[in-house]
Symmetry: C2
Subunit: 201 residues, 2 copies
């Protein structure tokens, strides 16, 4: 990367200028029949699948190396930091989430894998937004001597991929945080669940 | 609960009416020096800790029962569904995230526990919002004969708590999804990481 990304200005965004997200004023009746109001943010890009985004937990298998996964590092303006995330992306308008997960893994990491499983639709931050997603598990079988493939990034995408042995994932996230990067909550939870199983049960 | 919560109307929310969230127009310079714009949603409630919210992974230990955790079920207007989540809540203006996690666990579940660990600040959906959080691990030691404590809910809060043995958590989330509830992505990832460790490694 030639230089670090940075924020130059933050100002309130009028609703009528927003292209990607919108605000909803939700009127609802609670469990006692009382009328109430909730404010939520919503993506405008949701397609016919009804699912905004996919993320991918990759299982990289190699005859001589420890089972590993892939995390990506990219600058995210909303939090003004390089974030550490599972490979992920928005589902295209007429694409299935399963197809999107194989496509996004290939674009962001170069690896082509086999979809083993995809979660039901889960909600990203349901107190604040309508955003939803599915988590795919994709397996990549490597042979000895396979070299690291090329990423297939769009113009203007700056994404670094990192292959991490699963047993080191949690420790690596702790280190990346200490370096000033920001770990995505979903990736952190996945790694914390894995670590919890290894150490607390 | 006397009746089911429901949405009666959804309409665009003008920025100047929004009380809890706001839109930001973020001007930033990318890695090539190009000027770009990003749209993000932000909570207005962030206090001096700099952290919006906490969630709690509880470890319930009992002399005769399997190690368990607590999940909560509550209706969330942004996704018009009963959501399945870790106990969680916003950090008060002058409170520490550690204190908030012990307080929220008590309010939402009735259990008083000991904070074992709290994660660094992690970001909930960094492509779309500034929202951040910390994940606390709280241990509750029960003695034989301890009865289930009373919740300490605010007026207008309808929250059901469910104690689930950790080894059944993933399966329970799958079942709750099939019943039409919506699982929070972070809880799903934690349970999926735990299940991944049990079955794929």
């Amino acid at each position: 990367m030639p230089q670090e990304a940075k924020i130059t200005n933050v100002e309130p965004l009028p609703s009528n200028e927003a292209k990607w997200i919108e605000f909803q004023k939700i009127s609802w009746q609670d469990q006692t029949g009382k009328d109430r109001v909730w404010e939520a943010a919503s993506r405008k890009t949701r397609g016919k699948s009804g699912v905004d985004a996919v993320a991918i937990a990759t299982l990289l298998r190699h005859p001589k190396k420890k089972p590993s996964t892939i995390i990506i590092l990219q600058y995210r303006p909303p939090v003004d930091a390089v974030c550490v995330e599972f490979p992920a992306g928005l589902v295209d308008a007429s694409e299935s989430p399963s197809d999107a997960s194989v496509r996004e893994l290939h674009e962001e990491t170069g690896y082509k894998g086999k979809l083993k499983f995809i979660s039901p639709t889960i909600v990203s931050d349901p107190g604040m937004s309508t955003a939803n997603m599915q988590l795919a598990t994709i397996e990549v079988e490597l042979k000895e001597g396979d070299t690291e493939p090329e990423q297939a990034l769009d113009d203007g995408e700056f994404i670094e991929r990192v292959v991490v042995p699963l047993e080191e994932l949690y420790t690596r996230l702790v280190e990346l945080d200490k370096e000033g990067k920001r770990v995505d909550a979903r990736l952190w939870h996945w790694a914390a669940g894995l670590e919890f199983a290894r150490t607390m049960l």
